[in-house]
Symmetry: C2
Subunit: 361 residues, 2 copies
């Protein structure tokens, strides 16, 4: 009953199905090239709440409600919730889990949380411990900046290589039975650290972890990058994506034709977002509202999502530490004629969307 | 291949083995009734480091090294690490995981982290996703007080119902094969909240979650409390333990003869620790160094450990929120003649120990 292939990759023979996905984003994300794809775009960052933290919670709660509604399931049909976020003590996830009152695993994987949750969800189902899991995550630009760097009101000038934390929440519903793209493999990441100390430069800190996980995954599966329609990293942004390609070139792996990054997909270059998007919400909303429907529409057959997380805190920065990072990879495939995740809706949105929203392949 | 019994309980047919456990504690914990049982007692809270956070990291790292050494295994034989702690962004666990460079799942379950990690570790092994997992957690009194309440140097007076955060790290090594107590069942908890708002009163906040998980577990397994040698809660302390018994009495369940609490076991009542111990380290070190050897020595046949976590943050308190809590339960049994975890050593320690260290049954 060994389900490992190679050294570090899991094979899910039962192919857990992603029967629903949902994402709600903030106004800036709504103005980006993927704006049409998200289930809901907020008019402002407070969303009628008094604090950003409460706004993030409300967005996340609504995302999960929408996720279940799309699958026509109520909370009592969900066996496990898996959630985490960037706020101290992952309060968004914990307070949202309270609302739904289902068995809950709290996670901390920084911006890798979406894929960490999907991997554990797929294991719970594939292993026979449940029928349905929901994994969710979120981030909020203003709340995150205040906690990690300085409140926006201080007006600090940031370097161009800094990334912009996505306001939004994404979630997926995995199930033993049903229709939708399937989870076939996962490569759980190791914590890496090449010594980057600048908390503005997260892409550079996370690139070595992404490179390690991709390399391990390709070795374990004995595949080439071209065997994926897309290898999509979580939120390396411009700086980190360039570094990732260089790190892999050193190992004679060329992913330049096959890789894209959620942090680059989510914003237009003229939106003033530095090196691109980041935050738990980044890979979550792009995967939930854009990549999964893409798979579902037979545009893709096989996708490798590699979500990256920078595992430092403001305190470790002040204590002179470098930034450890992690990257978890998950393979999602289009299996036969599954088309649960809003096929027609996706086509309509793509028509309404500007051409930037079309992946270039 | 359904491994669920009842509504919320998992049955591990393959019985993952706990082949090693280890714990290192601070000086106050060393002076308590279980002092002789821990693998190492620190002379002071800094442990030759410049900050409490770095001390916590060092303790945790050494605990894992000791854990592997006891099992005569090197890090490359470990398939997964599962870790978490109380510090913002779980920096202890993340930085420690960097050191060992193995596939890593970051968790946040507050003081329930030890059991959350053991449950997921048991699933990874039982499900066939790996052969060996290490789960670890830690807390540090001074670091924790500064982050959650006020720095000790301010000299705030605390109410008697406040609990004392344990300085220490505990870890267990689960394996498909080997000798030691076995994990047979788990009940994953739901987030509960009965409206307690006082961050000094964690025991009261966590008691409803513990009651819910214990009740669910007994229902699912169709057992009575007397069918366990001990039901041990994580860190409810005096206030929370009393409330737990009352909550269960309301449901006609009497656990008064069968329950104990790690927060009460770890300190003597004259140590000035308020209502007892708490923190991720509390249930971790008591389980690793005391309860597991107890099982291993045939003193116990079946143990239910219910680790409890308060899922708030200082920010949610300041924003007027109550304290959501969670409790995860795990059943550990003595299976045949397994005696991996220091049988003789345990007997010697018990001789050296004062009578307080003897569980009253």
């Amino acid at each position: 009953m060994n389900k490992m292939i190679g050294e570090q990759t899991i094979k899910f023979d039962s192919k857990p199905k992603i029967i629903s996905s949902a994402a709600i984003v903030g106004p800036k994300e709504g103005e980006g090239p993927l704006g049409e794809y998200f289930d809901k775009v907020l008019p402002d960052s407070y969303y009628q709440e008094q604090t950003w933290e409460k706004a993030e919670r409300k967005i996340t709660q609504e995302t999960i409600e929408l996720l279940m509604q799309k699958a026509n399931l109520s909370a009592d049909k969900i066996d496990y919730l898996l959630g985490g976020d960037l706020l101290d003590q992952t309060i968004t996830a914990n307070f949202v889990a309270r609302k739904f009152a289902r068995p809950y695993f709290g996670l901390y994987g920084a911006c890798s949380t979406m894929v960490e949750g999907m991997i554990l969800g797929a294991m719970l189902i594939d292993g026979g411990y449940g029928q349905r899991t929901i994994n969710f995550t979120s981030s909020h630009y203003q709340g995150s900046e205040r906690q990690y760097r300085t409140p926006n009101e201080y007006g600090d000038k940031y370097p161009g290589y800094k990334q912009w934390t996505v306001t939004g929440s994404g979630a997926t519903l995995l199930a033993k039975d049903g229709q939708g793209p399937v989870v076939t493999e996962a490569t759980v990441g190791k914590v890496m650290d090449l010594g980057v100390k600048d908390p503005m430069d997260m892409g550079a800190a996370m690139a070595p972890a992404a490179a390690d996980t991709i390399l391990q995954h390709l070795n374990d599966t004995n595949r080439n990058p071209v065997q994926y329609d897309l290898i999509v990293t979580g939120d390396l942004g411009e700086v980190g994506s360039k570094l990732l390609r260089e790190l892999l070139e050193d190992k004679n792996i060329d992913i330049s034709e096959d890789q894209d990054d959620c942090g680059l997909l989510i914003y237009n270059s003229d939106q003033g977002v530095g090196a691109g998007g980041s935050g738990c919400g980044c890979s979550a909303v792009v995967t939930a509202s854009y990549l999964l429907p893409y798979l579902n529409n037979n545009r893709f057959k096989r996708l490798l999502v590699v979500a990256t997380g920078a595992l430092m805190s403001p305190l470790t920065f002040l204590q002179g530490e470098s930034i450890p990072s992690i990257a978890h990879g998950i393979v999602i495939e289009n299996d036969t004629q599954n088309n649960a995740i809003g096929n027609q809706e996706f086509e309509q949105r793509q028509k309404a969307n500007n051409s930037n929203g079309e992946l270039n392949r």
